[in-house]
């Protein structure tokens, strides 16, 4: 009888230990789920911040490209409208398309679309598509759009026109 009682006590103690461990593992599991979801949310916020910064940098970079910059006589930092139009012809799908230039700029801008819209001057209201590498599967990308105002110098009319750059940068969605 005494041996049977000790056996039941041992079974009870064993079951109790098992329960304590299971509850502990359950609590730790819940803690881990919270930790990883918080960590993932923070990572997503960080990625979003980076993509925003990259989009601003891309837009600013277009404005500061030396190859389309005005010469030193045009009063400092501005974009030369004829150079811009020439670059648009090289990167566009038309007759002036330059494959080597496209490869160079794709290396710089990757998946993005850049358009210039003139607000004043002879070309007011006109839209100049400069670069278009919109992804074919947009569902796999997130898009950040930036508008940046600038002045564009027309060397023929010797006038500064107001315009804005519409820059959309596509970043591949992070999986997992």
């Amino acid at each position: 009888m005494a041996t049977q009682g000790r056996g039941r006590d041992a079974q009870l103690a064993f079951g109790e230990t098992l329960m304590v461990i299971m509850v502990l593992v359950f609590l730790i599991g819940i803690g881990m789920v919270f930790y990883y979801s918080a960590s993932r949310s923070s990572l997503n916020t960080e990625l979003q911040h980076r993509e925003d910064v990259q989009a601003v940098l891309l837009a600013q970079r277009v404005l500061s490209m030396p190859e389309v910059a005005c010469d030193r006589y045009a009063g400092g930092s501005c974009i030369d409208s004829l150079k811009l139009a020439a670059l648009a012809r090289m990167l566009g799908p038309g007759a002036g398309h330059d494959a080597a230039a496209w490869t160079t700029y794709y290396g710089r801008f990757a998946e993005a679309a850049i358009t210039v819209r003139y607000l004043t001057g002879a070309q007011a209201g006109q839209r100049l598509p400069l670069y278009d590498a919109t992804p074919k599967d947009p569902g796999n990308f997130t898009a950040q759009q930036q508008f940046i105002f600038t002045t564009i110098y027309d060397p023929v009319a010797d006038e500064q026109d107001l315009a804005y750059l519409n820059v959309t940068r596509y970043a591949r969605r992070q999986t997992g």
Binding site: R6, F14, P66, E67, D71, Y73, A86, G107
Partner: protein, 352 residues
């Protein structure tokens, strides 16, 4: 105690031991994963910060800026394949590697290693004479640049490139022997004129030199790279340069290979800049030919336009580096610049 009871107690201990080990293992894995994730995050942030510092430098040409960064060793590398194409270009922070996509098309001229908690950047625009590419000059206060030459020449070099914020020491043509080691990580001697060996304390592999042989125009010439000042170290033959920005780029890069690799990035823009320029000139000349009196420059502009057009069309093909250098040496670009200056003073549209 019965034999069954003894077995029960032993099982209890074995169970506790296995459970304990699993428990410890679990916490070990958890802590390791948290630490690893934390380290990866710090590394990622640092990489992004340095990438942003470099990427935003070209946005403010001709400005000097200081960026505070975590104290680390930053190694800059640029590698080319046999055909001269840039294969890798990256910054490695404390031996952690980063993906190179951000740096592949930014020409960064820096010492191979920059140690410390600050990065100094300045951006020069390479013009030949029209703007071609932005060149990022990077260093910090632990690399000293010793400029040897006539004060008017060395000061002009620093003032034109807005390089006064870097750690610079001016020395007269005969004063190299008086330079003392003040404990900087490395010294780069830049000679405007003839080379005279610095004191023996500087003749080590970590220090380097550049000898600049300027042409009378001050904007072109030849560069002799001495990647190491260690006795017996080889130095490649002189290479031509065109423009103050290219000279500054050479001054900030302590190896010829890194200079060539980053120049390859800048030269990639040369072909595009040339095509844009030609297309632009065609547009101006088309307006001229169309006889639209509202937009056409007057007769005083015609001769310079036609000469300018002929000069621009005489550019060597992209990639023909020796032909391009010869072109620069011939002074055609200077003539083009003179034409442009005349057009400006006469109120004509610019050529570039």
């Amino acid at each position: 105690m019965t034999r069954k009871g003894q077995l029960g107690i032993q099982f209890h201990w074995v169970f506790t031991l296995i459970g304990g080990i699993l428990f410890l293992l679990f916490f070990f894995v958890l802590i390791r994963s948290v630490l690893h994730s934390d380290q990866a995050r710090t590394t990622r942030e640092l990489s992004f910060d340095v990438g942003t510092i470099i990427a935003k430098a070209p946005l403010s040409p001709d400005t000097f800026s200081v960026a505070d960064v975590p104290d680390a060793t930053y190694r800059f590398a640029c590698e080319q394949d046999a055909q001269g194409g840039v294969t890798y270009s990256y910054v490695r922070i404390d031996n952690q590697s980063y993906e190179d996509t951000g740096l592949r098309d930014i020409a960064v001229f820096s010492p191979a290693t920059v140690r410390g908690d600050q990065l100094f950047t300045a951006t020069a625009t390479w013009q030949a004479p029209f703007p071609i590419a932005s060149m990022v000059l990077l260093s910090n206060n632990r690399t000293r640049y010793v400029l040897v030459g006539l004060p008017q020449v060395t000061k002009r070099f620093v003032d034109q490139g807005n390089l006064g914020g870097f750690n610079i020491l001016y020395v007269g043509p005969g004063g190299v022997s008086s330079v003392t080691d003040e404990g900087f990580d490395r010294y780069r001697f830049i000679y405007f004129g003839g080379y005279t060996a610095p004191p023996s304390a500087f003749l080590t592999a970590r220090n380097s030199a550049l000898v600049v042989h300027q042409d009378p125009d001050g904007e072109t010439g030849t560069l002799d790279f001495h990647d190491s000042l260690a006795p017996g170290a080889p130095s490649p033959p002189g290479v031509p340069y065109a423009g103050e920005a290219m000279l500054a780029a050479a001054a900030f890069t302590d190896s010829y290979a890194a200079f060539r690799c980053n120049m390859a990035k800048a030269e990639g823009s040369l072909a595009t800049a040339k095509k844009i320029l030609l297309d632009r000139l065609k547009a101006i000349l088309a307006l001229y030919d169309a006889g639209n009196s509202a937009h056409v420059p007057d007769g005083r502009c015609q001769a310079d336009y036609l000469r300018g057009k002929a000069l621009i069309e005489a550019y060597p093909s992209p990639g023909e580096e020796s032909a391009y250098n010869a072109y620069v040496q011939q002074g055609n670009l200077r003539e083009l610049e003179d034409i442009d200056s005349r057009l400006v003073t006469r109120g004509c549209p610019r050529l570039y």
